[in-house]
């Protein structure tokens, strides 16, 4: 009853083992594999969408005041990441990419942090030229921080300055181009 196994075992013993070499060569056809996160700090607009959608809260954001604005540091903790890729999907600027690199091994935890620093100049308060505004609400829908409240019927446009992070997404989306940053205080 063990004969088939025996045959296989003897066959195996005299053929080349199917073991891969170590360190393993890059596997081909990884394609869709979601490995180490690559973050392009230059194209990031610090919209904060990635932080919002991250389920394991692996992305942290710290800011530091510098001359003419602030340095925003965005850190992706790979030992906390669940590699779902949602942040990459939500990043409008395409600053977050999931690479196929799976060598995420480190003795020092710092090696497993991916971070980037974005300089954000202080652009001033967002203002709206209410005369041109049609209160379509696109700006509100695209605001990552929920800082805008637009009422189409009552024809109001209200900005919560505390919430606004000056990402400027609303400016890009506005069909009438009535939004702009005001003077720097």
């Amino acid at each position: 009853m063990m004969l088939p196994f025996l045959k296989k075992a003897v066959y195996n013993a005299f053929t080349k083992p199917s073991t891969e070499a170590f360190p393993c060569p890059e596997a081909e056809g990884l394609g869709e594999y979601r490995g180490r996160i690559a973050f392009n700090q230059d194209s990031c607009v610090d919209c904060g969408m990635c932080i919002k959608v991250c389920a394991p809260m692996a992305i942290t954001r710290t800011e530091e005041k510098v001359e003419g604005g602030k340095n925003v540091t965005r850190t992706f903790d790979l030992t906390s990441c669940t590699f779902c890729g949602t942040c990459a999907d939500f990043c409008e600027e395409g600053s977050i990419k999931m690479t196929t690199d799976y060598h995420m091994v480190a003795t020092d935890p710092k090696d497993l942090l991916v971070s980037g620093v974005t300089f954000r100049e202080d652009k001033g308060t967002l203002t709206c030229d209410l005369s041109g505004c049609i209160f379509c609400g696109l700006c509100m829908r695209n605001c990552p921080e929920g800082a805008l409240a637009v009422d189409r019927k009552a024809k109001t446009w209200v900005l919560d300055e505390a919430k606004c992070i000056q990402c400027g997404k609303c400016i890009g989306k506005c069909p009438k181009k009535v939004l702009s940053f005001g003077p720097v205080k």
């Binding site: 063990m2 196994f5 296989k8 013993a13 053929t15 083992p17 073991t19």
Partner: protein, 317 residues
């Protein structure tokens, strides 16, 4: 005095401790390598058991609170010493260190000592896993003892000791005169039974119920660490050699070149073949048995084979 020195040489170096350890580690390494190759893997290097042993020596030895220190530390040494001594009684073709008239019983009992040492050591550690492990180890011992005894009796009958029944020398001489036991067709069932006894005695894969690491945390060895554990691992490597050597001298004897060195080399080569045949192959192709199945297997199938052989031999075949 000279006699004592020779005895010391025998015990410590040539057929005794050093030789047994060296060949045992070699066999264990080959076993692991062959099993790996049979599973289509590369497998560890042949010197891997040596690394394991050296590493374990360098590790810390923890003695648990519930353990009896003396029995816990002493057991592996007792097993080691008895294993080193067994080789003195197994003729390497023409050469036996302690030439005695009757040594099969001595071998039979000395071989149980490492098992008993394992049991006592495990038992003294006070762990319930070890309790279950020693229970299984003991049942395994009872299981293979019947076919083992039957095989020994068969060979003893075939070789027909002159004054006393169980003489290894008589067997060696008989084989030198009449050719290997294995070429007697009546002995073939006994040889197969013996090949099946070896893995249970050593405790390799399908018969390692006592040390099942996945279910009872290595059974008797659960609390062992460091040097005593290393010795136990060494013991099982030595057991591999001792058992296959027993097989070789019972069934494949009869080769006399006259040079002890060449004899020893042929002997070791034969041992390797036996190891690969009965331990590695069975290990590679089968999964662990349950304890009651193991007992039944040995007391029916294997004992039946050995018994058939004994009856055939008794009828003068």
């Amino acid at each position: 005095m000279f006699n004592i020195l020779w005895s010391l040489f025998y015990v410590l170096i040539f057929p005794g401790a050093l030789f047994t350890v060296a060949v045992g580690l070699l066999l264990a390494g080959i076993d692991r390598k062959v099993v790996a190759r049979m599973q289509h893997r590369i497998g560890p290097p042949i010197r891997q058991p040596l690394y394991d042993f050296l590493k374990l020596i360098g590790k810390e030895t923890i003695i648990p609170k519930a353990a009896n220190k003396l029995a816990f530390l002493g057991a592996p040494f007792v097993g080691f010493v008895s294993l080193a001594l067994i080789m003195l009684f197994i003729p390497i073709f023409g050469f036996t260190a302690f030439s005695t008239s009757a040594d099969m019983i001595v071998i039979l009992y000395l071989i149980t000592i490492p098992g008993v040492a394992l049991i006592v050591g495990g038992s003294s550690s006070g762990s319930p896993y070890a309790g279950i492990g020693i229970s299984r180890e003991m049942v395994t011992m009872m299981a293979y003892e019947l076919p083992f005894v039957l095989v020994l009796l068969t060979v003893a009958k075939k070789a027909g000791g002159v004054s006393l029944a169980f003489s290894m020398d008589a067997i060696a001489n008989w084989q030198a005169a009449n050719g290997s036991m294995l070429f007697q067709w009546a002995m073939i069932p006994a040889a197969i039974a013996m090949l099946l006894v070896i893995p249970a005695e050593v405790g390799t894969q399908p018969f390692d119920v006592a040390e099942a690491e996945t279910e009872i945390c290595e059974g008797p060895l659960v609390e062992y660490s460091g040097a005593p554990l290393g010795l136990f691992k060494l013991n099982s490597a030595m057991k591999m050699f001792v058992m296959s050597a027993l097989f070789v001298s019972l069934f494949l004897g009869g080769i006399r070149t006259g040079f002890i060195l060449i004899d020893a080399i042929i002997f070791v080569v034969l041992c390797i073949i036996v190891t690969v045949l009965c331990m590695s192959t069975i290990h590679a192709i089968s999964a662990r048995l349950k304890i009651e199945h193991l007992f039944k297997f040995y007391w029916t199938f294997v004992a039946g084979l050995a018994m058939a052989s004994l009856i055939l031999v008794w009828c003068g075949l």
